[in-house]
Symmetry: C2
Subunit: 342 residues, 2 copies
DNA sequence: CTGAAAGCGCTTACAG
DNA sequence: CTGAAAGCGCTTACAG
């Protein structure tokens, strides 16, 4: 692989001059520039970005650490991040922690060794975020996506889970539901107050909050299935359920099927994100239109801004969500008998 | 950010010694080693991998270039690749070309500048792969995934599309279909002979191949929709359709809906991959279980092997696929009238 | 075992 | 404009 030295030799100029025609910072006479460019062509020279990074202390690399690529909306987020990165000439190193803190810790450390210019993070569910704090303090900017890390004061961009929860509860209550379940993720992670808002909105409707109808588990399909079976085994099972994401919703649907129940007749269902296939499910999924692309996109923008200006104030961007009503919430049907229970 | 020099100074040893305790290659006395390790702890020292890469000419970075992250199976593939990379201490730089050759060309070039140790590639649809050939010749190994690049003799791992096509056609013919459509991707890409096998299997059943029922377009949902409308407007429309992936299938389902047609009653449908939601669609999707995880996983293994031994023979790995029969192919229903046409 | 030194391929003041 | 040279932070023969 050709080096700048070889290019310089063949073009009969100094390496500095080659560097100057490449970077365009310092002007180079037309004659030399053309000579250099021609040699670069001939040699199919690709400047060694590693050497460059070492020198200028900048890698144009961003680490993107996500918690679960099984969740289809993650891809929208990735695409959003990539789009912003592309425009700024950055590249993405991507990881999936599978929500395991040890893996996250390992990746963050590896990313620090690689001197990425910044990190985008969907934190794994865990109460210990020392490694994130350490990374920040060492000078590498990190912006949190989807989940806010309590106590860390980082840039973050999240969806408005409070508003989302409120919209869901209002919708379900308006359909006559009073026993509403919630399948949520790790309670240690701030997700914009989904749980809190859920509870509060219920109480505004004078519906007592029933702790037994809330299950905090993972966010995978299997978690939805297991939590679903658990919820369905309650003596007073819910007549409607909110699932923190569509994967949980799919899992819950499986649990219902296994229990011989149908949706929405027996139990209505709403998910907190809206993947491409939601409309084609059976029943089609009432869902919150989750702004995953925007979260990735604005997260990256925010990160790039902080890289340029590390001193700027921390910001928290909250993106609106809106309810897309389809069949699974049963809105078009009359409520069935179980609704009229006390 | 601490450097090896600072660590050496504080531990009162040479930088070479620090390097030796880090790498473990050259033995270091227990006394010095412990002193060094302690300082590393204190300083929260993260060895600069950039400098290391420059010196040892190895980045432990792999470029993964995919054609469309909208396709949910891509994520399985990514996870497969990541799993193998993780075990070998490699990291992934990920790109989405959106099937645009200019983007692919740009990324390949950027990746060469970054001196990645190898590339995993789902090629964009295009007949010109000079940039890939150039990368290979310059000494960076690339293995092709999902699509074989004709004329390039690269390592590749693909699903057995021939067998898949054969299984689909056999299944549909056994249900009485004789007018079978195919929604495929770019014809310039070898996908293991899906199209060819489709045609051949039809002919084995003495069913004339009808060029008008085959549409080569992109692989996105929109492509499925548009190609679907086109197909449905044929004077003799098909009674069954094969879609090259589930995104196309979703698009086609949309086209059917828009045309007032239902699946499988009016037209049966099979997709060539099997995403997590296939079972929950309405109708549930008969599909080929596409080994995406394995393709990513074995692709990465193959790449790592070639990195270690650049001289080894090129291999082509073909992974089996098998048909998962659900509702959309209409297997459980009796065929309707249109079937009995000549 | 340990240290001093060269070198990986760039960029960037600094002289001219 | 152009070139010679120092230096980014490591690794690795080479002496001792």
């Amino acid at each position: 692989m050709a080096t700048i030295k070889e290019v310089a030799k063949r073009a009969r100029v100094s390496v500095g001059t080659v560097s100057n025609v490449l970077s365009g910072g310092v002007p180079v006479s037309k004659r030399l520039r053309e000579r250099v460019l021609e040699v670069i062509q001939q040699l199919d020279y690709h400047p060694n970005q590693i050497a460059r990074s070492l020198k200028i202390r900048q890698t144009n690399l961003i680490g993107l650490i996500v918690n679960d690529t099984r969740n289809p909306v993650i891809f929208d987020l990735l695409r959003g991040a990539e789009e912003a990165a592309w425009r700024a000439n950055y590249m993405l190193i991507v990881f999936d922690t599978g929500d395991k803190t040890e893996r996250e810790r390992h990746f963050v450390s590896a990313l620090r060794s690689r001197r990425v210019d910044g990190m985008l993070l969907i934190a794994a569910g865990s109460s210990n975020h020392d490694h994130i704090a350490a990374a920040e303090e060492s000078g590498i900017p990190v912006v949190c996506l989807e989940r806010e890390l309590s106590g860390l004061n980082l840039d973050c961009v999240v969806a408005d889970a409070s508003s989302a929860a409120r919209q869901c509860v209002n919708h379900l209550v308006s359909l006559g539901h009073r026993r509403i379940g919630l399948l949520d993720g790790d309670p240690n992670l701030e997700t914009g107050g989904r749980h809190m808002s859920f509870r509060q909105t219920l109480e505004e409707h004078n519906i007592p909050y029933d702790r037994a109808l809330v299950i905090h588990r993972g966010l995978r399909l299997e978690d939805g299935f297991e939590a679903g079976l658990e919820l369905l085994s309650r003596e007073q099972r819910p007549t409607a359920v909110l699932a923190a994401n569509s994967l949980l919703a799919l899992g819950f649907l499986n649990a219902m099927k296994k229990s011989g129940l149908t949706c929405p007749e027996d139990i209505a269902l709403i998910a907190f994100d809206d993947p491409i296939f939601a409309e084609m499910l059976h029943p089609s999924l009432t869902a919150i239109a989750h702004p995953a692309f925007e979260i990735g996109n604005q997260g990256m923008e925010l990160l790039l801004k902080r890289i340029v200006d590390p001193g700027q104030r921390r910001s928290k961007i909250v993106l609106g969500s809106k309810l897309v009503i389809r069949e699974s919430s049963g809105s078009s049907r009359t409520r069935h008998a179980s609704e009229s229970r006390p």
